[in-house]
């Protein structure tokens, strides 16, 4: 079995290499490799995952180790319930994205490198979830950053794409330093890099409260960067110029999901360090409200979804921060399903309309019937409508925060209360922005055709090809039925007490959802069936300004200073050397007799001088 896991990691990389080398040889090679490999990958993921869900003993295996100084770095895998669930999520979404891309990227000359990068992305995520060695995990972790960089800048002709890609890479890589130092600190402390061993030791106790605050906070820093939480939340929305299927992959199953996974993977470390949990809780409270507010006002369909991802990730962190492991992980899985659905559906809308601006959409219900049905399910899940999966997991999250606020002991009660208030408020905001986007895309009257020739020449919006529709319908299945897992979590996590269903709270939340929806709908009617509220552009997040003034500008200034400094030093040196050479040249002219013997003499004397020096010295 362990070799199957290794194969599962290696397969996407092999497929990427094939795509790059023979992908240009024609349609069949180009598309067959990418889709075929991801189908096999999905199959292998099923083979690995199913035996390890529920009450299974985790699989651990070490393939190779370096007998290096310090703790050994090992190529080792560890498959437990968490890994199994993440493997299913990642490979399902990756497969559907590859299938979807057949239609979406048809005719794109850069398809081979695109497909290859998706494969590497999948492989990197697989590596992260199966890795039992911190360094191996870091490899996958940063490879994902690289893939998202290249995929965001897929359309490198666009200034926004170039800028967004650089921003994504630099922000996440800076945060990754946290993980690097966490690894080093843990290695020094535990004399091993094996995650299962370290977490086992921590879980066994013997560590004082907050004794391990440093590595826990360092991991948190990395997680904040990867999952785009405050104050590094701005890269994700700016990553939207990438092709839409990529957004589905990044937002649902890889990259940002990896942040939540890492917290879940190192959960014992967090439980031992309430300082990190408190930080996480506060960051999550702030992030979920800020990003939901942005989602509420932005006019760009993909940005609505991007901000909603940031906000939903904060939900997961909120759950984890109060110790509700199952709720956090289940919300991650549920979100993976419905956010992939939403992004792919959004892609289908963009494919049809040719823009991501919601004011250019409207009336698409008749024109894109399949997209309408599936995206409605997706938005419903996002808003938490009964009985879609989002309703159950969101209820589980809010419920566990509620429990923690009343009688939790991991974080201070006031922190839990703040978090609780944020989650409820965000739930309301989520309903509002989901409904607004849904109304603006599908129900609002179609906008008058713009006068630009580019638009008027374009054909009437039409439904996407089959390769794009099938993934949409497939993704509605877990979105519709996923709630069952919340009711019976033992299927995933094995036997145990899970307090995930909170009937009273569910009723209250549902009432809130209905009230909010009515308010938005009423507002929409009043506005004459267009944007429910006045178009309002929120200012760009202020932290970006802080980074520009506080980091980018000083670095640029320093760089110029360094360059100028080096040039001046060199010039001064060159001048000095020139003068010295003229002086030396005069001396040498006196010595220059053109006589070979003289030169030889000088060499011999020099050698003797060295010999004498050595002799004297000894």
């Amino acid at each position: 079995m362990s070799w199957v896991v290794l194969l599962l990691v290696a397969l996407p990389f092999a497929s990427a290499a094939l795509s790059l080398f023979v992908g240009h040889r024609g349609e069949v090679a180009e598309r067959g490799i990418a889709v075929g490999a991801s189908a096999i990958g999905l199959g292998l993921a099923f083979v690995v995952a199913f035996p390890h869900l529920g009450d299974a003993t985790p699989l651990g295996h070490v393939f190779a180790r370096t007998s290096a100084a310090g703790p050994a770095i090992e190529l080792s895998v560890y498959v437990d319930q968490l890994t199994a669930a993440m493997l299913l999520l990642a490979h399902t979404v990756a497969f559907l994205v590859q299938v979807y891309s057949l239609g979406y990227m048809a005719g794109d000359p850069r398809y081979p490198s695109y497909a290859a990068l998706i494969s590497i992305f999948t492989g990197a995520m697989t590596l992260v979830v199966v890795a039992d060695d911190l360094w191996v995990l870091l490899v996958g972790w940063e490879l994902m950053g690289m893939c998202s960089y290249f995929l965001i800048s897929h359309h490198w002709e666009l200034r926004e794409a170039r800028a967004g890609a650089v921003k994504a890479f630099l922000m996440t890589r800076t945060a990754d330093l946290g993980l690097l130092f966490a690894i080093i600190v843990l290695g020094v402390r535990f004399d091993t890099y094996r995650i299962s061993t370290i977490m086992g030791e921590i879980a066994d106790g013997g560590f004082g409260r907050d004794e391990l605050w440093l590595p826990a906070l360092l991991v948190t820093a990395a997680v904040i960067g990867k999952s785009a939480q405050f104050p590094l939340h701005t890269w994700l929305p700016d990553a939207m110029p990438g092709p839409t299927p990529i957004s589905a992959l990044i937002h649902a199953a890889t990259m940002v999901a990896a942040g939540v996974f890492l917290v879940a993977r190192t959960f014992p470390l967090y439980l031992s360090a309430p300082a990190a949990l408190t930080t996480l809780a506060l960051v999550a409270s702030l992030t979920m409200i800020i990003s939901a507010t942005y989602a509420l006002f932005t006019n760009d369909l993909k940005r609505v979804l991007a901000w909603s991802t940031v906000s939903q990730l904060a939900y997961m962190f909120g759950a984890l921060a109060v110790g509700a492991y199952a709720a956090g992980v289940l919300h991650l899985l549920a979100h993976g399903a419905f956010k992939a659905l939403l992004f792919l559906a959004a892609g289908s809308v963009v494919h049809a309309v040719g823009t991501t601006s919601m004011s250019a959409m409207g009336g698409l219900r008749e024109k894109l019937p399949d997209t309408f049905v599936t995206m409605t399910v997706g938005f419903g899940a996002l808003a938490g409508v009964v009985p879609l999966v989002g309703f159950f997991t969101k209820d589980a999250v809010i419920g566990s925060v509620w429990d923690a606020a009343r009688h939790g002991h991991l974080v201070w009660p006031w922190v839990a209360w703040v978090l609780f208030a944020s989650t409820v408020l965000t739930a309301v905001l989520t309903v509002a922005y989901s409904l607004r986007a849904w109304l603006m895309v599908f129900l609002t009257a179609a906008p008058p055709l713009a006068a630009e020739p580019a638009v008027s020449e374009a054909a009437e919006p039409h439904e996407a090809p089959l390769s794009m529709k099938v993934p949409l319908y497939l993704l509605t299945v877990p979105t519709l039925l996923g709630g069952l897992v919340v009711v019976y979590p033992q299927a995933v996590f094995g036997d145990g007490e899970y307090h995930l269903v909170h009937p009273g709270l569910a009723v209250v939340m549902t009432l809130l959802v209905v009230a909010t929806a009515l308010a938005v709908a009423w507002q929409w009617r009043r506005s004459g069936g267009r944007d429910p509220w006045h178009p309002f552009v929120l200012p760009h997040p202020a932290v970006d300004r802080v980074y520009a003034v506080g980091v980018v500008r000083p670095v640029r200034w320093l760089a110029r200073t360094v360059r100028a400094g080096d040039r001046d030093v060199i010039d001064r040196y060159a001048d000095g050397a020139g003068a010295a050479t003229r002086g030396l040249g005069w001396v040498l002219r006196q010595a220059q007799t053109g006589n070979v013997q003289t030169y030889l003499m000088v060499v011999v004397v020099g050698a003797c001088a060295i010999a004498v020096a050595a002799g004297v010295a000894s």
């Binding site: 666009l158 170039r162 760009d300 050595a614």
Partner: protein, 521 residues
Amino acid sequence: MIPVLLNGLLVAPAVFALLTAVLARRERLAVATAAAGSLVTFGWSVWLAVEHDGALGEAGSTVDAVWLTALDVHWALGVDGISAPLVLMTTLVFATALLSLFRHAPADAEGGPSRTASLAVLLLVIEAGVLGAFLALDMVLFFVFFEVALIPMWFVINAWGDAYDARARRRAATRFLIFTVTGSAVMLVGFLVVRAEAGTFDIVRVASSYTPSGATALAASVLVALGLAVKTPLWPLHIWLPDAHSKAPTVGSVVLAAVLLKLGTYGFLRFWMPVTSPEWLLVPVVAALAVVGIVYAALACLAQTDLKRLIAYSSVGHMGFVVLGAATFTVGGVQAAVFASVAHGLITGLLFFLAGSIKDRYGTTDLARLKVLYGKVPRLAGVFAFAAMASLGLPGLAGFWGEMLAIRAAVDQAAALPEDTYRWLAFVAALGVILTSAYFLALIRTMLQGGPVTPATEVDSTVELVADTVPAGEPGVVDARGSEWVTWAPLVLLTLVLGVAPGLLLTPVADATASFLVGLG
């Protein structure tokens, strides 16, 4: 067997250099001979690496003959896990360099000894010198080979350098020579003082039995460090490097960056660490200079406007990690240093080859004039992006392990060193990693990406691509040629292999370090 292999490894390039010189009038043949010689040398070094058993000092594993009786200088050669990776990297890089030269060979055939053939001869001489320096176990012998490698380089830069700017290339060549020769002279004085203290030039004996202490020993260590710091180079003695690297011909830049810098870093590991006590303030000072170099070079790169100068400066930063590793005085630090040295050789070699290919096509390396290479020469640009990713330390590629392990070693440094200082140094070095990412991304953005499309967008809206893409290819300019792939492929492949399986290199280095420098933690 080993002694024959050791001597043979020095003889092979020398013999082929002679052969090439003899054949110099028949250009193609001469260069082919040189290329064949470099391949033979590479094969030979692989054989040596397979045969050797990893440790120095045992009878039969080294060559040791008295060379200059009066001075007690020995012809002492040996190879262990520290030098073997560098030897292999050297022979590989020279093989690729000479193979790439072969492509240029038929281009200029006039009467008289051909220029390309002469360049090939010089390269083989440099190769012999560098290999000698890596194999030397006697301090004076190391110095001699060090010089053998330096002098021909002056000719290479001076005669074959930047064809567009003769004055600048002469100045660069002279500056290179003055700096490095002065440096090596200082180093030699340091060696003489060590001889006075330890009673031998034999570095293996020095490493095993000499405990440096006192002012004289410190002075010796400072002198050796100073000499090596010029070659490595360590900030602020780096100012010869950008000129030399950017004005040299492509193969010259490759050899300078990939191989000659390693003489300095290898010197730190083999000849400086044994004569230095970690208790001295000197060690943290060297570490601090290394870290300053990392950040300084990254900042300088951010402001460069010339591709070759940028790559040259990036070397200063990478070498900073190597020296930081050495200055931790741990086995892990030495591992990191050797790994980072080899990785830098492969990656920066590749980057300079690519810069050369770009210059062949566009006649310039001025970043203001190189645009949208993704569109014009997609494959070449793709390989360049790969090399850039490797150089900025992407995990899974060779550049990652050496630098990250150097940071790890700095956090977990030798007991005698100041803990807090090193932790701060580790942190600053890590910031250097970010700055390195920043300048490579900026480079990709200005040189590879870009395009004619500037779509009008709403304030709050993203655009996803709908416009026409830049047409692939450009009339008159060929994308990557077959012969170029031959040059790049081994470097690309090894970058991948070492990135995926760092243990291949880390394990032998650790074993060798533990037996060479007894007492390291």
